[in-house]
Symmetry: C2
Subunit: 405 residues, 2 copies
Amino acid sequence: PIDADRLWDSLASMAKIGATAKGGSCRLALSDEDKAGRDLFVSWCEAAGCAVTIDRIGNIFARRKGRDDSLAPVVMGSHLDTQPTGGRFDGVFGVLAALEVVRSLNDRGVETLHPVEVAVWTNEEGSRFSPPMMGSGVVTGIFTLEEILDKVAQDGARLGDELVRTGYAGEAPVDHPMHAYLEAHIEQGPVLEVEGKEIGVVTGAQGQRWYEVTVTGVEAHAGPTPMRLRRDALVAASAMVQAVQRVGLETAGDPCATVGILDVHPHSRNVIPGRVFFTVDLRHPNADTLADMDRRFRAAVAEIAEQQGVGAEIADFWHFPPTPFAQPLVDRVREAAGGFGFSHRDIVSGAGHDAVYVAGKVPTAMIFIPCEDGISHNEVENISPADGARGAAVLFETLVATAGR
Amino acid sequence: PIDADRLWDSLASMAKIGATAKGGSCRLALSDEDKAGRDLFVSWCEAAGCAVTIDRIGNIFARRKGRDDSLAPVVMGSHLDTQPTGGRFDGVFGVLAALEVVRSLNDRGVETLHPVEVAVWTNEEGSRFSPPMMGSGVVTGIFTLEEILDKVAQDGARLGDELVRTGYAGEAPVDHPMHAYLEAHIEQGPVLEVEGKEIGVVTGAQGQRWYEVTVTGVEAHAGPTPMRLRRDALVAASAMVQAVQRVGLETAGDPCATVGILDVHPHSRNVIPGRVFFTVDLRHPNADTLADMDRRFRAAVAEIAEQQGVGAEIADFWHFPPTPFAQPLVDRVREAAGGFGFSHRDIVSGAGHDAVYVAGKVPTAMIFIPCEDGISHNEVENISPADGARGAAVLFETLVATAGR
Ligand SMILES: NC(=O)NCCC(=O)O
Ligand SMILES: NC(=O)NCCC(=O)O
């Protein structure tokens, strides 16, 4: 029901903005490149006859009228921002598949009962500004608008100022009404590809706990300071990185445990590090198991700090519990995939998505498509045009069934 | 034979330049603060009647005429640059103790046979620009002038440009003649304090090998990427940091093994690190043992890389072998300390010093004084005024004995 070539061309055009040397994309949230990507998207929506609204956190909603336009819209969407060395499909696929659904509704002259919207959520990645999923988090009341406007990037910029600078500090209130929410996304993992499935019917997302750890030792000269007298913050932190890895390896089910950032102070070749900062990201589909991983992680950090004679502070940075999606909507995705004869399986999302926050407010479902070698958050991220077309087709069917005729 | 109060006042005045919040000093090589420190030193030397020369690598030589001014000078000196979170005495003590010797020679109207000079060597620390000991290394032919002028700092500045900008791109050739070289310095370790000795008679310096290691894994999403499929560059690098520590702990004698810098790429909370860069600093007083440490370090890195399925490249960055000082000059330092009745012991320097390079060219010796808790390369670095005065007195006696009357 959709135009596969048009979808692929749109993906290729968007990928030119912030294109990286190794074939990926770099459009960090509210950077010049993110602005250029948003501007292109808005121009496409206007050409498709949509009315575009920007809210106060910079989320974009492109609206196609419904037969009863007083009803709340069925919203499809995802994000256009990327990781520093991001791919061409993470988030972008969901946004442009949603746009393709709207374009196809237009081509076929389909009227829906509910209005239909395409949403672009601000700063899903949580890389330049952290935590992730800020735009959807503000709309669903997880974060206050004020706290998020005051977030400061790794590069020193304030989020509120970057919204104004890029022209995306909108006027619309942040309590956007929604009847239901649908998000198509690449899997970002290997399961569908390994099992040869064309569509992932996402039943929910695993829980996440993010932390910041600061290890404090004693700076001293790397030469005349005997090994036994050292309190080396990096030696301790590197044992903690190993312990985080063990928490991941020694947990049943589908655990994840990752240290993505680690900064050494004072950062000089011949100074024993006096302070190390690092981030930890723990995930599990089961709430009790995630709580157990949290306990083992904290115990390991405390034990290593004690052994090495250093201080260690753990700060909770961000978290959300395992989040199930709406059963009836999930069933509708499964039926749509089956209706087309696509091979499919139920799957739990390993990543957080805007859908996780939206699921707390309105019925929500997600559609996954496979990605090459299961690789994402990497410039080489890739999908096949056929997989993209299948995902957009399932989105089309689910949307029409949800918005009504 | 020296004025302890004047020495202490000079140390305090210099410490005001680039003073840090925690009571230390930050005068990174050829920064604005380093320039201000050099300018103050030059003004003091001129007030003491010295003729000041700057050579092409920015070394400063302040000359007091000898009875036979055609003889090569006996040079005393050290450095004024510091670590990012450096102390008030590392290097500075040796420079200002040497200046105090010259001032005292003036006060007492002592004429020496050889001219006497105070040297400030450019970039001893090797922190902003690396490797360390650049000024003395160029003068002694370890480095070419051209390669050093082209070194680029962590902040992107070129050394040659920073010399011009700060007004220290001198005209004098870099093959400065010297009859002998004497350097006073804080120990930067705990030995003298622990043993209650007032003076360290430095017999030489331990050897050093510095490396740069680059670990290459695969960037991937921290959520949907199963633990068993990861090739996490930071998990591998942290095992290598542990291995470096073991090389230090499991070596006899007085080994040192330190990772001072570690950088993670792409540096995002929810991306499995794809690349890690770190530096390694291995030291030992015995050449064979240092070679053995080198072998064990390389083997451990290769083994961990293999186990973790990542790439690892080790680049040799800098090294010097264990370096003995000149026996007759060392004996003279011991006699001077004994003559004053100061408690003393022979000691091997754990740090590299400009004296190490100079020792390859002319007879060289060093005098150590204790520092509080053995702590250096730290803002809290401290000495007692009495220890400072003792070190300057031994320098005075050794200088007069070497320069002749
Ligand atoms: N898809 C995605 O990268 N979301 C950000 C939150 C997460 O890391 O799971
Ligand atoms: N004293 C000093 O820090 N010298 C630099 C070379 C080294 O780290 O030993």
